[in-house]
């Protein structure tokens, strides 16, 4: 996932290697479920990929298996939530947010059944397995559904807090997790996680990187790299809640920084970048702006790391984009 230079930058920043968000999610959910028998995991032959094997062993009465049937997974989850269960419906994001989209729209969001939809191995986590297994559309389709909070944690800390917050939230939510091991980001103390709030991980007024999910680390490394190589002070903002988007942090970045660059593990259409652009443009601001994500094409074959690097979602790629955006001002 990281070039040698990126690893050196991470070491210089004192970032500690963490584990996959999916593993953090599974352990957090197990702890919640041990404390409350109403907490359920609902799966579609996905307990292995969801790292829920230990959960199933420990609490067999609190895992509901539905087989390979994602429409029914979401409908059943809605029914369980409606009778008072705290439900986490866990399925690969690619299937969960496409095959069962109508169940998400109607049974979860419209009927206001507080299901926590958990899209696992999201984005291009499945890498070379290809387009059928990628979820690069989920932000776009889910943002267009009313009454659905969208949470995309960037590290283990955001994951842990997001799962706890979702369990207590009592409203429909979508949580999106990848399976790559992640560095733990700074900011747990200075920028604590809260649903609906952006987290400023690094200050600066040259370029603002607004990123979500597994791209945030690359933005942070790029900011550090730009400081040493170009003497640029770049802001890094993690947006773990994609919807509702925190407009305050977005507008502050657009007003205070020379340029705004968004980064996301999603197609450039309809995701974080366009959400941020909408906020900036409707405030009448003309800040230099660039969306980094997967372009509107079938991705190159490769691992998640290959795909990220190919499309410039890397320390080097984002730093290069920042230089280009500034050069154009």
């Amino acid at each position: 996932m990281y070039s040698d230079a990126a690893k050196q930058t991470a070491a210089r920043l004192g970032l500690k290697p963490g584990r996959a968000n999916l593993e953090e999610f599974a352990d957090t959910l197990l702890a919640l479920a041990r404390a409350d028998r109403n907490v359920l995991a609902v799966t579609s032959d996905s307990r292995g990929s969801g790292k829920l094997g230990p959960f199933g062993q420990a609490l067999p009465q609190q895992i509901v298996e539905l087989g390979i049937a994602e429409q029914n997974l979401v409908g059943v989850a809605a029914g369980l939530a409606s009778v008072g269960k705290t439900v986490f419906a866990v399925s690969p994001a690619c299937f969960l947010t496409a095959r069962s989209l109508e169940q998400i729209k109607n049974d979860v969001a419209y009927s206001d059944n507080p299901v926590n939809l958990v899209g696992i191995s999201a984005g291009v986590s499945y890498g070379a397995l290809g387009t059928t297994h990628h979820s690069l559309h989920d932000f776009a389709v889910l943002r267009a559904i009313n009454n659905l909070t969208i949470v995309v944690p960037a590290d283990n800390y955001e994951t842990r807090e997001a799962v706890r917050a979702a369990a207590a939230h009592g409203k429909p939510a979508y949580l999106r997790f990848g399976k790559a091991a992640l560095y733990t980001l700074p900011g747990e103390v200075t920028a604590p996680f809260a649903l609906g709030k952006a987290r400023v991980l690094r200050e600066g007024n040259d370029v603002a990187f607004l990123a979500t999910g597994e791209t945030v680390i690359h933005a942070l490394l790029a900011a550090a790299h730009l400081e040493t190589t170009a003497n640029l002070q770049c802001r890094v903002v993690s947006l773990p809640t994609l919807k509702p988007l925190d407009p305050t942090a977005v507008l502050a970045a657009a007003r205070e920084c020379r340029a705004v660059i968004t980064a996301e593990e999603h197609m450039v259409n309809g995701g974080l970048g366009e959400a941020v652009a909408g906020v900036i443009a409707q405030a009448g601001l003309g800040t230099r702006f660039k969306i980094v994500g997967i372009p509107d094409e079938y991705t190159v074959t490769g691992s998640q790391a290959d795909i990220f690097r190919h499309y410039g979602i890397s320390m080097e790629g984002l730093a290069q984009t920042a230089r280009e955006v500034l050069r154009s001002t």
Binding site: L40, Q61, N72, G75, A77, G79, G84, K85, E102, N106
Partner: protein
Amino acid sequence: MHTDHQLALKSLRYRRGVLQAIKHAGAGHTGGSLSCVDILNVLYNRVLKISPATFSDPHRDRYVQSKGHSVEALFVVLAERGFFPAAELDTLCQYRSHFVGHPTRKIPGVEQNTGALGHGLPICTGMAIGGKLDAADFRVFTLLGDGELAEGSNWEAAMAAAHYKLDNLTAIVDCNTLQITGRTHEVMSTEPLTEKFAAFGWAVRNVDGHDFAALTSALSAPLEPGKPSAIIACTIKGRGVSFMEDKVKWHHGVPNDDEYVRALAELDAAIAKQEALG
């Protein structure tokens, strides 16, 4: 318990209410609402442990109308059962009304928002699994259309309901043999329903969907321990108005003024005849 005579009078009045609501709104699903009136009558007046006073009780029975387009029948029955004043139905489908043209939880007594087909059975399967996990004594019911059974999600849920031995779950099929395009067996045959549900592991009973005694017997208790119950209710679309019966054009046909007067006259005559019997 209401007598069959009392239920017969209720059904005639429900049918009258359905036509009034549809005529007033200028839109609605006439045929399917009329075909399921007797089923809803038996559910709400003899079977379901649901009332306006106890609707937030977690132990209440659950009814989810999966064939949401037959909403007029549901709204008319809920009004008569006291969930809201019947006069409010005059706003059905009007600008800013809470009475949407499909079931919505904005209306007291409506359990889930429905309208897209193939959603009720999965939701009810989840409710029934939840009931089993809590060893709760409530029962869960859904009403499906025969055309609706072409939606694959029904069969995903049918598989899961049998897998989890959900004898607290009952699916009723309003089998009126018609859907918007024509005869169900011509559009997409969903038959043989009895064999299909049985093969999926359900207990199945075929009933006359306009026979109060048969419906009561089929719905009052699970058919078989350890299995979900499927009640295939043979019905007539447009039931109760001679010129609407078994005619595809009345799927969502709205009566013109002349048809409306004739339909109400038929129902009023039937009401008078039924009253004379009591």
